[in-house]
Amino acid sequence: MTEGHSEPETEPNTTTDTETMTDDADDELKTHTAGFESPPTGETIIEAEDVNVWYDDDRALEDISMAVPEHNVTAIIGPSGCGKSTFLRCINRMNDLIDDARVDGTLRLAGKDVYDADVDPVALRRRVGMVFQKPNPFPKSIYDNVTYGLEMQGIDGDYDAIVEDALREAALWDEVSDQLHESGLELSGGQQQRLCIARAIAPDPEVLLMDEPASALDPVATSQIEDLIADLAEEYTVVIVTHNMQQAARISDKTAVFLTGGKLVEFDDTQKIFENPEHQRVEDYITGKFG
């Protein structure tokens, strides 16, 4: 794990050489303490070790190592094309669906490597829910959208109650309770995204992956979703990709900064990242000097 964390050496930081050296040492230290020793944020649930992803011959992720704590919101930020979505897709093996994607390294969910031969990706995805960048409700009724995962996973139970709970948790119940059997496509974009969140949490996953869930939404809908994510973290572990610095600062407990080339440059408590980042490049990125 320690050796895999090699990116600071290749970092082309030309201005402050000596500082960079100390930065590196510090950075590694920080990452470890953050992942393994800081108890207030709970046990580690997702643990990546030297994860690399290639699309054909292009390397999209380079030796990513990080540990995501349980019942927390972990934000992933970074410029476009740096591999944030790719990393998210590694966690629930959605990359398997891309013909020319290749993953290596170790990625453990609750201690078990999800790329082990005996792991069924379908079973894995039942434990790891996902919300996509663009709202993508099924062309079915709102009710059927929420029960989709339950039915596919063969979960029995009082569907009416589960649907109500999930929609309440997604802060959508009040708006749709009288039109549950109408098409989910008739909702507004923000409502559709909350429906997708309700759909993802209905089967009660352990981890919720969100890929820029608010990128297509207006400020009001965005703030609704942000409130929602804060609530969700009490029950689930949330890993969220976002392009919006303020959003990451507002809602996350931990933040990972990916920079171009598919490298994880810094991973620490959100407050630390935003107030006092170890790397100049991270600071530049956060303050909008590049990216």
Binding site: N92, M94, L97, D99, V122, A123, R125, R126, G129, M130, F132, K134, N136, P137, F138, P139, Y148, G149, M152, Q153, C196, R199, A200, P203
Partner: protein, 558 residues
């Protein structure tokens, strides 16, 4: 100088543009005109409009054409005409359905139909009861399938008695009824049990969902009463009246009822079909009362009901119609599952490698192979078994004589045409499947669905309209296809309708083709043209079904 030059260039190119535009216009018009001329020619031959009394036209002009045009024009201004025309299509579609049913019954003996209907009723009843009782999906499916299989094919227990309840159990319901029940109800009762009861229940169920339980009961009751009421008329056979009531009256009433309720603003649109129907009825009565003779059309009921004869006057194409209908059944039953299955595999499962691309390329090429080749293929494959027919082979110590399928049967003809349209079905289904957004598949996989679940719950429901439209259009193409049929059917030309799938058959295009060589000009003009008209109508109906299916699903998915 320069500007002058530029001006000339502009002028020249503008003139060229104008010329080009008119050339295109002329090309379009002449294409349309030649098609129109061809169709008009056929229509004149088939309907012989000049043989009618001028006052016949006058009467229909006054009762039907002028009022319909006026009402239609008025409705158009309120944008209600399309709805009105659509309403007219419901009874017309019902009539076609009834016609197809009667043709089908020329092939299926009604005791067979009755026996199978009773057999199918058993699992249907189980399914209904378990649904009402709220049994879980898997138990319900298991019960229905299990009981259904026993009811339909029986338990294979050799050597037990074949009478009484044991016989019923071992033979299955259909076989038992056919062999042991000697008093089969007549046509009317058969239709009543097998058609009226399900339709009445369906209407009741829908009404109960829409309105209330009482409304549902009333609906069921109304259908039953209407079905019984036909006993008290003497104009047509009771079973004919019953089928008309069930397939024309009931759907029309249902359509009117739902439209009337769901679109109160559009109620005026019913003025159009009402005008047309009343106008046609009035005209008919007037013509009959004044005993004015209409055109001596070649296309009439007799033409549809009779077999071809040596005399043009009494010739008909009933066997060809039945043959084509059965061919269609075979074509749909074979090409639909194969084609859709192949498309789903290629789009959803096949890895993207050289082999898949090779297959893909060849499917596209096969779509362009001349249809005669498919006829040869059918002949060689199904009848001669690739030259192996009649030869003996030994398999596991037993000698088996290979036997190709009988020449000229409906099954072989249908399968040959299936081969012909299979590439088209595959390609259009693939296109429909490809149009399902990738984000929906991602959503489904992300929810922990397996690939099969994703296909079943997300991909197929979304692509069904496209798949159906493509398949129906391909079937339409198949109906008119002649070359493969000449190869596999012509040798066994038959002048009576086929009695089953393995019986010799003829088909519409073949029949039309054979009339073209009759020495009697009345055949070559009148009868031939009438055959063409029937074929075109069948094609139009098939294409309209495709359009309706598409519109309906598109409206639903908005």
């Amino acid at each position: 100088m320069a500007t002058e030059h530029a001006d000339t260039t502009t002028a020249v190119s503008r003139t060229r543009g104008v010329v080009f535009r008119y050339v295109l216009l002329v090309a379009t018009l002449s294409a349309l005109a030649s098609l129109g001329l061809l169709l008009a020619n056929v229509a004149v031959d088939a309907f012989d409009p000049l043989s009618a009394d001028p006052s016949w036209y006058l009467i229909y002009l006054c009762t039907l054409v002028v009022p319909s045009l006026l009402v239609g024009w008025g409705l158009r201004r309120h944008e209600l005409l399309v709805g009105g025309i659509e309403a007219l299509f419901v009874p017309i579609g019902g009539l076609f359905g009834a016609g197809a049913l009667f043709l089908l019954f020329e092939v299926i003996p009604f005791n067979v139909w009755f026996a199978w209907a009773v057999g199918i009723a058993v699992p249907a009843a189980i399914w209904l009861l378990t649904t009402i009782a709220g049994t879980s999906g898997r138990v319900r499916a298991g019960l229905t399938l299990g009981v259904g299989a026993v009811a339909l094919i029986g338990l294979p227990l050799p050597g037990v008695s074949t009478t009484g309840a044991v016989g019923l159990l071992t033979m299955g319901v259909p076989a038992y009824i056919q062999r042991r029940v000697y008093t089969i109800p007549n046509y009317y009762l058969t239709y009543l049990l097998t058609l009226a009861v399900p339709i009445a229940l369906l209407v009741g169920h829908q009404l109960r969902k829409r309105v209330s339980f009482t409304a549902g009961l009333t609906g069921t009751g109304l259908v039953v009463i209407a079905s019984l009421a036909v006993l008290f008329q003497t104009v047509v056979y009771t079973y004919v009246a019953l089928v008309l009531v069930l397939l024309v009256l009931v759907p029309t009433a249902w359509y009117c009822y739902t439209q009337w309720h769901d679109h109160p603003a559009d109620r005026l649109q019913f003025a159009f079909p009402v005008t047309v129907l009343i106008g046609a009825g009035l005209g008919r009565i007037a013509v009959w009362v004044l005993s004015i003779s209409g055109p001596n059309s070649w296309v009439d009921l007799q033409f549809l009901q009779d077999a071809p004869t040596r005399y043009a006057e009494s010739a008909g194409l009933n066997p060809a119609l039945v043959g084509s209908l059965l061919l269609m059944v075979v074509v749909i039953a074979t090409s639909f599952p194969l084609g859709v299955g192949a498309a789903v595999y290629l789009e959803e499962y096949a890895p993207d490698n050289g082999f898949t691309r090779l297959i893909q390329l060849n499917i596209s090429n096969l779509a362009g192979v001349p249809s005669v080749v498919y006829g040869l293929l059918g002949l060689g494959l199904f009848i001669n078994l690739g030259g192996m027919s009649g030869e003996s082979i030994s398999l596991f110590g037993q000698t088996i004589t290979l036997q190709g399928m009988p020449t000229g049967s409906v099954l072989v003809g249908g399968m040959a045409i299936s081969l012909l349209i299979l590439p088209i079905v595959i390609i259009s289904s693939q296109e429909a499947i490809r149009s399902v957004p990738e984000s929906l598949r991602q959503a489904s996989f992300g929810m922990g669905a397996t690939r099969w679940q994703t296909v079943k719950h997300v991909v197929l429901p979304r692509s069904v309209p496209g798949i159906l439209t493509g398949t129906i259009l391909a079937v339409g193409r198949a109906v008119g296809e002649t070359a493969p049929l000449i190869m596999v059917l012509a040798a066994s030309y038959s002048s009576s309708p086929p009695a089953g799938l393995l019986d010799k058959a003829t088909a519409l295009p073949l029949q039309v083709y054979s009339w073209a060589f009759e020495p009697d000009p009345a055949f070559r003009h009148g009868v031939l043209a009438a055959g063409v008209v029937v074929m075109i109508v069948v094609l139009l109906v098939i294409n309209s079904i495709a359009i309706i299916v598409r519109n309906k699903y598109e409206a639903k998915q908005q």
